[in-house]
Amino acid sequence: MNGAQHILEAFHRHHIDTVFGYPGGCIMPLYDALVDDAVVEHVLCRHEQACALAADGYARASGRTGVCIATSGPGATNLITGVANAHRDSVPMVVITGQVPSALIGTDAFQETDMLGMALGIVKHSYLVEQADELPGVLEEAFKLASEGRPGPVWIDIPKDILLAEVGPAPAVHGTPGVDEVVDASRVMAMLKASQRPLLYSGGGISLAHAEDAFRAFTEASGLPGVTTLKGLGNAGKRAPNDLGMLGMHGSRAANRAVAECDLLLVIGARLDDRATGKLEAFAPSARTIHIDADAAEFNKLRPADLTLMGDLTTILRALTGEVQTSPLAISDWQQTCRHWHTTGGFHAADNDDPYAPIHGPAFIRQLSRITADDTVIACDVGQHQMWVAQYYDFDHPRHHLTSGGLGTMGFGLPAAIGAQFANRASTVINVTGDGSFMMNAQELATIRRYQLPVKIIILDNQCLGMVRQQQELFYNNRESQIDLDDNPDFLTMAKAFDIHALHINRSDQVRRGIETLLAYQGPMLLHVAIAREENVWPIVKPGAGNTDMIDETHRPRSNKEYVA
């Protein structure tokens, strides 16, 4: 068995049945082996970046490890943004790239790049396979590392001669017997009991740890009011009575106020990211902090914690649930206060009674949320539409919300939707995108067409880079610079070129019908939604300011627009 065949064997052992890749010179032995493989479906994307982002979307939607493949040189360098995206959001991924033959490494050979060196800062771990017999062990270790503890991408760079070399058998895999973790929840409980205004702050770590059920059991048993990060949306489910939604730069007034006034912050599976905390000195100024996470390096990184607990989140949450069931928290006044704040300071997008009014982005997303089924997967891109989705779409599960949180990768949404559709062919998967983001990986319409994927695409088109325009308006004296996209292609014609059905709407009375048509269509479809150029995401906290210093539309400067470019 040669090295390439060993890779496929490793896929089989780890139940990898879908991979995303693009062939080329040095990875050709693996593609040759794929010809004879009946188990692994290879998805040919149209750009290596999209391969990595589709593998990312597949992993987020399924909870399994995503796999992407590319050749050496430009194939591998094109993967980098997608791998960095997975790294920043701790997505389990195995990356396999061909490398020039061992004897040519270091000679500036055709399509040679030092991928091990280039990728050091964006992987959980990486390998350059130097000896053929190392390969089976490296593959085993890579799949284990990618998914255990805090997940992340693991990159294996394999010279072409090793892909072709005869390789000995794979090492026998012996499962390590699990050790029951004993969690001492007493100190957490003591702090919760002593608190008058405890607040739960959860993030993407809940779903990364597959701890969604344990988290919901804990929130229901404890009754703790909760705020979530962008990646944690859906943790509590859409009907959780004490969930205040997203905190932070574009969070709700209710969520940010609860953080400001709580006296105990229970952080679970979150890393206190700057977009969530704003100015650290002003963040939860009166609160003691308990930090629970799978990664000890997150403790005390940005804010000192009074108590830390590292380990498997499901185990910890179950222990805490047992404690609060035995000894319930007496926080009914605080719960009522938070619910009142949520009623008055949550996100409420009014429907427009004027049928001819232009479509309002937040109202569109609210309508989308009302119409779609609870298990619909939304793959966002990056920008204003991403924040409107976070604010106005009620997610019932964190795996239904695919968003580029840490890296903020424009172009993420369409390939991520492709990955999510492969993760579950029966799901309704919608890519909500903007006109800027869509154009960054628009070539993937060809992938959708090729595989007959019923992915739905909604472009909220304001003919500009809306989030940049908004910040230029608010923080750069309204001096617009390089944000105009009013020469966008005709997106309907573009979709048609890929044999994808498309529909355009631009009035409020067309919203419901447009969404229903999109959802009812059998097969891929694009809904082009024209929205006003001047719409902003409200509220917003100026970068570097405290979260209580939220700016809303009443603070909008008078029009003194200065076109710089």
Binding site: L120, Y127, D295, N300, K301
Partner: protein
């Protein structure tokens, strides 16, 4: 412009498995997490790399230490004259 406070100096001993790019990983984390390498010595000891580092920086050294301990090739990180931190990995070889 506010003057920078003088950088504190730390001595760290690190034991790593001698995988490809082990030193590069170490140096990259030190740089990205805000420290400068003032002195560095490395030797092969059995199946390990022993690395002695003198580092300068203004950020909490504990933050760097916990990031170094996350590297898969790092077996031990010791901060000299301060609390000892040991991470045992690859115990199965």
């Amino acid at each position: 412009m506010n003057p920078q406070p003088p950088a504190a100096s730390y001595q760290i001993h690190c034991r790593m498995t001698p995988e490809v790019a082990a030193l590069e990983r170490l140096c990259q984390v030190v740089r990205v997490r805000g420290f400068r390498i003032a002195k560095m010595a490395m030797e092969n000891v059995g199946d390990s790399l022993d690395i002695a580092l003198t580092l300068e920086g203004n950020r909490p050294i504990g933050m760097l230490q916990s990031q170094l301990e996350k590297l898969q090739t790092v077996v031990v990180v010791e901060l000299k004259d301060q609390a000892l931190s040991v991470v045992e990995r690859f115990s199965a070889g």
